[in-house]
Symmetry: C2
Subunit: 203 residues, 2 copies
Amino acid sequence: MRAGIELKIGVWSMKQIILASKSPRRHELLKQIGIKHQLADSHFDESSVEMDSPEKTAAVLAVNKARKIARLNPDDLVIGADTLVIFQDKILGKPRDYEEAYHMLSNLSGQTHCVITGLALVSINPPKELTCCEKTKVTFRDLEKQEIESYLDSGEAWDKAGAYGIQGKAATFAKKVEGCYFNVVGLPLARFVMMLKEWDIRI
Amino acid sequence: MRAGIELKIGVWSMKQIILASKSPRRHELLKQIGIKHQLADSHFDESSVEMDSPEKTAAVLAVNKARKIARLNPDDLVIGADTLVIFQDKILGKPRDYEEAYHMLSNLSGQTHCVITGLALVSINPPKELTCCEKTKVTFRDLEKQEIESYLDSGEAWDKAGAYGIQGKAATFAKKVEGCYFNVVGLPLARFVMMLKEWDIRI
C-alpha cells in the first residue's frame, strides 16, 4: 500500500504538504486517501473577508489561509480550505449557543441547503497558486423537535457551520446529497486530486 | 450522550437489534449513529434470488437475510440489507480477481452508475416486516490507468460490489453523488430512521 504523494516532477520532491486548517474532519479525509501531511492553524480572521458571493468568499478565505501558512513554510505545498453553509441566501456560521443551533437545524429540517467549500493550493517556491470552489446541495428529511434536541445533547453541533456534521450522528438527517459528498465534510476530494494533477502531482 | 434506541412503546422493550450482515461498513454506520446492535452473518445464498429488477432483487435479498436471522432470534429486531452496483443495466458483483476489478473500475471511470440498497426490518414477536429500496447515482471522474492500478494495489477493491469502497481511498473517484451518500456505503441511514419511526421507534 502506498502512502503519501508520488512526485512526478523534480520541483515537488522534498516538499511537505501542510493543511492550513484546524478541522479534524479535513485531517481525517486526507488520511483516508493516504496523503501524508502536517497541520497548521492559520488563525486567519474569517470575518475579515466578505465578497459579493459565498463562492468568492470561500475561495478567498481558502487562499488567504493557505498563503499565511505558505509564507512561514516557503518550500512546502500548502492546502487551504473554507466551508460555508448557505440557506436561503444566508451564510450559516458556527452556532454561538444552544438556541442558535436549534434554530439552524429546525430551519434546515425538510429543506435543501448548499455547502460551499473554497479550496486553494499555494506554493512559494516555485510560486504557484490554484483556487477552486465546489458546491453541494444537501436535503434534510423532516426533523422532529426531540431529534434536534437529542442531537444537540450529543454535543456534535458545536464548532460546525450549520450546526451539524454529516459524518457523525447527523448522517441520518441528510436524505439526499447532490454533488461531492466529501465537500460537505469539508474537503472536495475528487476536485482536490484533479487540482494536484494540474501541477503534475499524482497520489 | 444517548446511545442505543429509545423505546417509545412497550412492545419493543427488552429487544436487541441484530444486523444480519457481515459488512464492516454497515456495522460502522450503525455505530456512527449510536445504534447498539449485535452482528449475525445470515450466510444467505445471494445467487438464489434474481427478480425482474435490481430494486426487487436487493429488497428480496435484504428481507430473506433478515428473516433467516429473525427465525433464530424471534424476540429481536433484525435488520437485513443488500447493496447492488448497477452499470448499464448490469449488476456488478464483487470482483473475482485483479483483471475483473480493473475492468470494473475502468468501465466506471468518467461515467455514472447506480447503487441500490434493499433494506428490511423483520420481527417475529410481534410479527412485523418492513422493506424498502434506496437508489443513489454516483459519478466517477476520469481515472487514469495508474490510479486504478494504485487503488487495486491498496487492497481495498476486494469484497466490494463494483470493486470500490467510497468510504476509503476511492473517495477521490466519486466527484458527484445524487441521493443518499450512506446508501453507497451500504445502509441508507435517513431511510432507516424513517422506517424505525413507522414502528414508533425513535433513536
